[in-house]
Symmetry: C2
Subunit: 502 residues, 2 copies
């Protein structure tokens, strides 16, 4: 494929993509292929001779798109959004063209420097405390990770090393030190709640450290509070366990609850005083989805985001609700040295004057992988193309649709009960009925039937271990009020059928 | 940015990208900006109002490109290539448009199924033993990871869990079991050589397990051999350590050495017999760069790739030498259940009929992150667009240039000494001189001066802890023989100046 071939192929691809976006609502939201559908359509090995682009491209519509679930579809109300936008796609395009394994500053200074700059822009936009900026006095800063899972793993490794550095005496022999560490590792424990995203548990599993799940209460809105945390810390102490890491969530997966950041600080201060003492518990804030709402001052206030100044790391995914292609998980740390001391590995072949002189940031020391893509480009394009006002408008519009939806649901208390929300464009509700079993059965049937229609996609969850509920999310950019209204009407129609045993 | 704006912006971006590729050789290879250059050129926060695309795009040439080191430049002879191609860029474009967090099969069946299929295509193309195919009898298969570092970490977690499952008695109480595991963890050790890529050491650091570096010998061509491994295993046994993981390399970073796979098997079989016994050492093959050469039968034969049938995992980066954009690290495992048993985490919100019924692959259980991009598209486009013959042609052409280069270097023994290679388009050489110190000084000066010219970029390494050497790689797609010839002439010119003390 030479330059001219590429130009034609690219323009044709662009046109297909535009056509896909312009007509996405004519497709079913969820793919309805059967497992194994694609193997029957493709050859069993790569072709010996190269194929023409037109042949390859024609397979996109006929073989690939039938197997796509459309995350940009206006009737996608499942999980959280994975919002993209045209400026972001352009960022991916340039990033692909400028491909390099940019593990060091010198491997492309712009890749490192733009990342530091746009993450400072983002930190300011979200009104994160100044300690998370690269220019702040605590030597903080941001780094783009592939996912919130990698972010929490990175933070947890840094937390473990920090904890060991602070609590293992420095005057031991190598052998004594290894004994103490082995002994400590068996007692160190990661804390999270039963509403915390599974990535924290997975990170603990990967590191091979204990994991303790703290049950939050429905009456606290499924948020972690000071007394609940304090009692979990006491339980650990009684068992001789050493908590070193806690994930606090801003917008839990199930219900978009926001943990009580001030309460968490108070409970931790009572446990180890003062904050910053050796052996303090690292607090990582998982704001993967709802962190996007912090672009609006009203959510900075309602979540009390200023309280996280005492915490250690904060992560939000621009690739969920902030119009940026997967992947763009933005991880901020209060002191970047915590990452470097845990993740720095030197190898002769990577030596260079700028790195060796300590003049620059080498992001390979802030992450698990070595190489990295130029992901800050798409964030830069999105922030500039939409502007702060454009982002405000988008977040507020999707939140408003969630409020409207929740209002309509509440208006039909003969059919539905709102369990939580609306919170951050998410409403969690279920059907009413005599007793838990009937409510669950009805809600399950409702979920299956509306999804089976192909006209919308919602996902479900199980609260308190037994309450089956539907999550309805209105964050997708193409979703308009009319789509939400139609979805609500479908829900009512099916719910009435269920109540009337049709 | 509406559809029409996007069309214009995208076409203009495509034209800029073509222009960039067509004229890349007119640029200096390595960026010569100073640390912090970009902060002085950009505002300190995101704009309040959205900006026009033309404004954003014009910053690419004026502010970003000066900070780019050009990995696609024909005079890029540093590290390993990070080769891209037009079909691969189109794959990234479609992937960006179809953005979703495809953690489950149902989140887009095509994303999972195409990945399984093209990784089978690739396994066949590389002539990997059948056990690494998804259709093989051992239930193996491939998964795309972001980098070789994530691949080795994933394999190491799986290896640790497999080892513990096999060696910790199953009839213990919970408390006894935790004690045994804590005790074992303190003794478990990861093995690698001093030529193994640092990602293995980093993975061990992340998991918090011991790491033992085995020194390989210059007389073995810096490859790991049976007697060297056997003696390391005995050393571990004598110290009461328990080796559970070994990285074997096909194409080391420093010199592109290939470890002796048969010898490794023999040493391991003598250590724990028979292979497959409980507590066997997991062998991960890191073929990140040179694995690409396996598309050619001559390299399948010379590396004895059939020997890895007794090993456990194999990883190669299509994003290095196989014309596919970063990131596309292709990890194969002999039994996918090893990944699933180590990395599976269930959360109610992800439940769905296809997953719960065990009908499909959910790649989130084969990796650290939850969500994932549609990365198989670009691999599919590359394999189809180039065809097997196209890939043969490219690999052989770049290998041939490496052989030519090494030949020329050998032809000037008054100036140079080839230390290793040519191997997989990599030659490692240094300047001659009286004594080690003079050789090192001269070689260091040569490296600095040719890089300082802006006309090429080579990287260096330190062999045996003291021999400074230049690595010269000819794998970039735009590199032609004339570029290699010119680079050689520049090296000669500068070397003569150094010898003549100019």
């Amino acid at each position: 494929m030479d330059s001219q071939d590429f130009r034609e192929a690219a323009i044709s691809s662009i046109d297909e993509i535009i056509n896909y976006y312009d007509n996405i609502s004519s497709r079913d939201v969820v793919s309805n292929v059967s497992p194994g559908y694609l193997r029957t359509l493709l050859p069993t090995s790569a072709p010996v001779q190269g194929e023409a682009w037109a042949t390859i491209q024609s397979d996109m519509e006929t073989k690939i798109l039938p197997g796509i679930t459309h995350w940009q579809h206006p009737n996608f109300h499942a999980f959280f959004p994975c919002a993209t936008s045209y400026p972001s796609i352009l960022g991916e395009l340039y990033s692909a063209a400028l491909s390099g394994a940019c593990f060091n500053w010198i491997c492309s200074p712009a890749v490192t420097e733009l990342e530091t700059i746009v993450l400072d822009w983002l930190a300011k936009l979200l009104c994160l405390p100044g300690c998370y900026l690269s220019t702040g006095s605590t030597r903080g800063g941001g780094v783009i990770q592939g996912s919130a899972s990698e972010a929490v793993l990175t933070a947890m490794v840094a937390a473990r090393e920090k904890y060991l550095l602070e609590t293992v005496p420095s005057d031991l022999s190598e052998e004594e030190r290894e004994d103490v560490i082995a002994h400590k590792r068996a007692k160190m424990v990661v804390l999270a709640t039963n509403m915390t995203h599974s990535s924290t548990k997975k990170a603990a599993l990967i590191l091979g450290v204990r994991f303790k799940s703290i049950s939050v209460r429905a009456e606290d809105g499924y948020a972690l509070t000071a007394p609940v945390l304090a009692s979990a810390l006491e339980e650990c102490r009684a068992k001789g366990l050493e908590p070193f890491f806690l994930t606090a969530t801003l917008g839990t997966t199930d219900t978009c609850a926001v943990d009580d950041f001030r309460g968490i600080s108070e409970a931790l201060e009572a446990y180890i005083y003062p904050p910053g003492s050796p052996g303090e518990v690292w607090v990582h804030v998982d704001a993967a989805y709802a962190g996007a709402a912090l672009v609006c001052p009203e959510f900075q206030a309602s979540t009390k985001i200023e309280q996280i100044a005492k915490f250690h790391s904060f992560d939000m995914n621009m690739h969920k609700w902030l119009l940026t292609n997967f992947d763009a998980s933005c991880l901020f740390v209060r002191n970047r040295n915590w990452f470097v001391q845990a993740l720095s590995i030197n190898q002769a072949v990577y030596g260079n004057a700028a790195s060796d002189g300590g003049l620059v940031t080498d992001y390979r020391e802030w992450q698990i992988p070595l190489g990295r893509r130029f992901r800050s480009l798409k964030i830069w394009f999105v922030l500039r193309s939409f502007g702060v006002e454009g982002l405000h408008g988008y977040i507020r519009r999707t939140v408003k649709m969630g409020e409207d939806f929740a209002g309509w649901v509440k208006g039909r208390e003969d059919l539905f009960e709102v369990i939580t929300g609306p919170a951050f464009a998410l409403t969690v509700f279920r059907m009413v009925g005599d007793g838990e079993e009937m409510r669950n059965e009805r809600t399950r049937a409702l979920c299956e039937r509306v999804n089976g229609s192909g006209r919308m996609w919602v996902t479900s969850t199980l609260l308190d271990g037994s309450r089956f509920a539907i999550r309805f999310m209105t964050g997708v950019r193409s979703t308009e009020e009319r789509h939400v209204r139609a979805a609500f009407e479908l829900l009512v129609e099916v719910a009435e059928e269920i109540v009337n045993k049709k």
